[in-house]
């Protein structure tokens, strides 16, 4: 792997210990994946933020980097294990909150913008088609590659931090044209309408493709709210972190020879497999990935005049919540008894043991509800989730 002047100097330690450690990580990855050089990145999204996943050791690692490491490009942050301001309202233990605050402080010291959201593209980290970026968070990575046409591999916590503190990433994988080429043509033979259906389709697709990149025919919508549900599900259930939609994404590829079709049956089956069949729940989570302003408005309409009887959390980026405050939406949601869960979600908050059965409209959300939190889980539309949250 060939390094140029300032990259060499970072690796030699001339620009401090953090830059050196970060270049060691990136050059090792470059060697393993056969990269010939580094490429500059325009923005970074760092994953690995929740203290629930980092532990004290992860916190110490970040603190050591923060001693002399500084973000060289605009960098945003994945969700934390709690609402960074209103954590008490979500029942987060004090010890956890103290440690989580220290994690965020380490990132802030590095010059990272502590957005704490899995939807950076909704709050200003919005790369242009063709831009090289280094993002963690599989749903955001898939959205960036597939919907925005930007270029990123699926980075982990340390490699995304390394890209931020050096401003570069090794040139391999999805940064290169030849690795973005679709390998299988997917004919979608039914119309998809709800987030639930897009999520179920993402699961069916991820499981059918064995990592091959699809060119999907038959999706006409360009609504980000629906496509982000597809991205999150596809990435969770085995998909490559990229897909193409015929006529719909910024890259145009000719159809590959291999083809499969997915119809109503496969989608119904995928949705059924995500539902454990309970008709009462004690926890409802909407916002995996984090909610847009449109989605908050839709939920506010559904909740108008109703009272929440179960724990209902709405996962959202703080900056979207601020827009909802200004638009008078938050007021309606809170009056009905919903909790705004800024900066966090049920995937990364320490929730195991707190609830028995939860409902969500997110296929990705079900996966982590079951595996990480050990909840009995039901997969329903937004309307049905609100009905479950408000029934007597």
């Amino acid at each position: 792997m060939k390094l140029i002047g300032h990259e060499e100097s970072m690796l030699s330690g001339a620009e401090g210990k953090a830059a050196r450690k970060c270049m060691q990580i990136l050059t090792a990855l470059g060697e393993i994946f056969g990269a010939e050089k580094m490429i500059p990145v325009e923005t970074v999204q760092i994953s690995g933020v929740s203290y629930d996943n980092l532990g004290d050791a992860g916190l110490e690692f970040l603190r050591e980097l923060a001693a002399d490491g500084r973000a060289k490009v605009p960098t945003t942050l994945n969700p934390a294990g709690m609402d960074t301001e209103d954590w008490r309202a979500l029942g987060i233990p004090e010890d956890f909150a103290r440690k989580q605050t220290e994690v965020i402080a380490a990132f802030t010291k590095m010059g990272v913008d502590a957005t704490c959201s899995c939807t950076p593209y909704l709050i200003g980290n919005l790369p242009k088609p063709g831009a090289h970026i280094a993002w963690g968070e599989s749903s955001a990575v898939t959205f960036a590659n597939s919907v925005l046409g930007a270029r990123t591999n699926k980075e982990g916590g340390p490699s995304s931090v390394a890209a931020s503190l050096t401003g570069c990433t090794p040139a391999y994988g999805l940064h290169l044209d030849e690795h973005r080429r679709p390998k299988v043509r997917v004919m979608l033979e039914t119309d998809l309408e709800t987030k639930l259906e897009f999520g179920a389709f993402g699961k069916a697709l991820g499981e059918a493709l064995d990592g091959r990149i699809p060119l999907i025919e038959g999706i006409s919508t360009r609504r980000w709210d629906l496509l982000k549900a597809l991205c999150a599900a596809f990435a969770t259930y085995g998909g490559a972190p990229i897909f193409h939609i015929a006529g719909g994404t910024s890259e145009q590829w000719s159809p590959p020879a291999d083809a499969i079709s997915i119809g109503r049956d496969e989608i119904v089956r995928a949705a059924r497999a995500l539902d454990d069949g309970a008709d009462r729940v004690d926890f409802v989570f909407l916002g995996c990935p984090h909610l847009s302003l449109d989605e908050l408005r839709e939920i506010a309409e559904l909740l108008r005049g109703k009272t929440v009887t179960k724990e209902l959390w709405l996962g959202v980026a703080r900056r979207i919540k601020e827009q909802a405050d200004a638009a008078g939406i938050t007021e309606i949601l809170v009056a009905a008894g919903a909790k705004m869960a800024c900066d966090t979600c049920h995937v990364v908050a320490p929730l195991r043991g707190r609830f028995d059965t939860f409902a969500t409209n997110s296929a990705k959300g079900i996966y982590y509800g079951r595996s990480k939190n050990r909840f009995k889980s039901v997969f329903r539309t937004t309307e049905e989730c609100i009905r479950l949250a408000t029934e007597k």
Binding site: E31, I32, A57, G136, K154, G156, G157, P158, S159
Partner: protein
């Protein structure tokens, strides 16, 4: 044997060989070093102080931080040997400063052998019984 350096260093210890990939996040307890993945061939074994030999890593990228936690808790492997190293283990080895070599054919190592790693070199001393 000679492989490719993922993280340079010198280490030795008894080999612990897995024929299957290891997922560190959720698969290895960061406090005790025990492999806890249900149904894994090495379930219940401790990686602490071992030269951990396995085809490759798998699973969540949070696994790199799990290796780091193992190291800080004093229960990390002394070295790692892979057939083909992937991102999670490579990054974990670098941030935890655990010597790591890949492109080694694993059949020639058995659990319990004394293994020395020096840079790209791997030396195996058979321990019978």
């Amino acid at each position: 044997m000679r492989g490719r350096i993922v993280y340079d260093g010198v280490a030795e210890g008894p080999a612990l060989v897995s024929t299957e990939a290891i997922g560190f996040y959720g698969g290895v307890d960061p406090d005790t070093g025990r492999i806890v993945e249900a149904g894994h061939p090495l379930e219940g074994s401790s990686v602490a102080g071992k030269v951990l030999v396995f085809p490759q890593g798998k699973g969540s990228t949070v696994g790199s931080y799990t290796l780091y936690r193992l190291r800080k808790n004093g229960v990390a492997p002394s070295a790692m040997i892979n057939e083909e190293c992937e991102t999670v283990v490579a990054v974990g080895a670098i941030i935890s400063e655990i010597p790591c070599v890949d492109q080694i054919s694993l059949e020639r190592i058995r659990s319990g052998d004394l293994v020395r790693v020096r840079g790209s070199e791997v030396m195996v001393e058979r321990r019978e019984g």
